[in-house]
């Protein structure tokens, strides 16, 4: 424990760089690969709002690629 006193603890910046990149690139890959996704997301929100109460901000649209299958994942939390 006394060692921590001498060695100032700080988060490793490389780790932070990697995490930030993984998040931003997940977004950018979808946006570049499927530019229609933003419009589709708006349409889906409109349709669902007619029937249930949702928070548009909490909707999460992800395009994922696992080996050979591409999966479009839409998460809609209901209030």
């Amino acid at each position: 424990m006394w060692l921590d006193f001498f060695k100032k603890k700080k988060k490793k910046s490389a780790q932070e760089a990697k995490e930030r990149l993984q998040i931003i690139l997940a977004h950018e890959r979808v946006a570049n690969k499927a530019p229609f996704l933003d419009d589709m997301r708006k349409d889906i929100i409109e349709v669902i709002k007619k029937y249930v109460d949702i928070d548009p901000k909490s909707i999460n649209v992800v395009l994922q690629k696992d080996e050979s299958v591409e999966v479009l994942e839409i998460n809609i939390p209901i209030k």
């Binding site: 100032k8 490793k12 910046s13 490389a14 760089a17 990697k18 990149l21 993984q22 890959r29 690969k33």
Partner: protein, 265 residues
Amino acid sequence: MAGKVITITSGKGGVGKSTTTANLALGLALAGKRVVAVDLDIGLRNLDMILGLENRIVYDVVNIVEKACKLNQALIKDKRTDNLYLIAAAQTRDKSAVNAQQIIDLTNELKQSFDFIILDSPAGIESGFKNAMLPADEVIIVTTPEISAVRDADRVIGILESNEKNEMSLIINRINPVLVKKGDMMSKDDVLQVLSIPLLGIVPEDSNIVSYTNIGEPSILHKDSKSGKAYKNIVQRLLGHDVPLMDIMEEKKGILKSIIDFFKE
């Protein structure tokens, strides 16, 4: 003979595309292959100086596609090996001076007499990059372990995929082992996890590169150069040999330095 077209690109500028092009082209030529390096950064000619051939240029790539000269007249022979030729970029024109079809035609012609045609792409994702990438049989993406370079590399990978250029590999340039050890620079594994394309090689940061460029002698010509060794390994891989990755993390330090480093953290 049907040569192979390899395009060197990066997205972000200043990560070492032209230095990589110069070293790999020279390395392949010294290994006995017939090589031509083509600078496609029209308007920002640089490969000629990195290779130390700037005084020999009479005609350039724009002169060829405009048929102002014969192909042979624009092929500049290297000073060190008979196997390497350079086609320089035009310096007084811009990227609109050539189109993709012209570069495809040019590379098809070059394939008849060379084993490797190495295209040095301009930075960015504009038409100059597309001209360089469309004729490629294989694309090498150069990045450094910095977020802006990795992000731009990812964008380039996406564009290459949508153009069905799937023969891609990655060179991670300018890795600083001291920073990686301290956790202040992404390691090769960090970058690979983010980009997920096959790794062709890693090149350690080498401050001597500045002076090698100053005198127009790529590091692969310098026996004791760290980056030169790394480029030699990459050349061997391009020739189909299985060469283990360079251990750039290995670093010997004295006891005093270890103690100082311990307290510096």
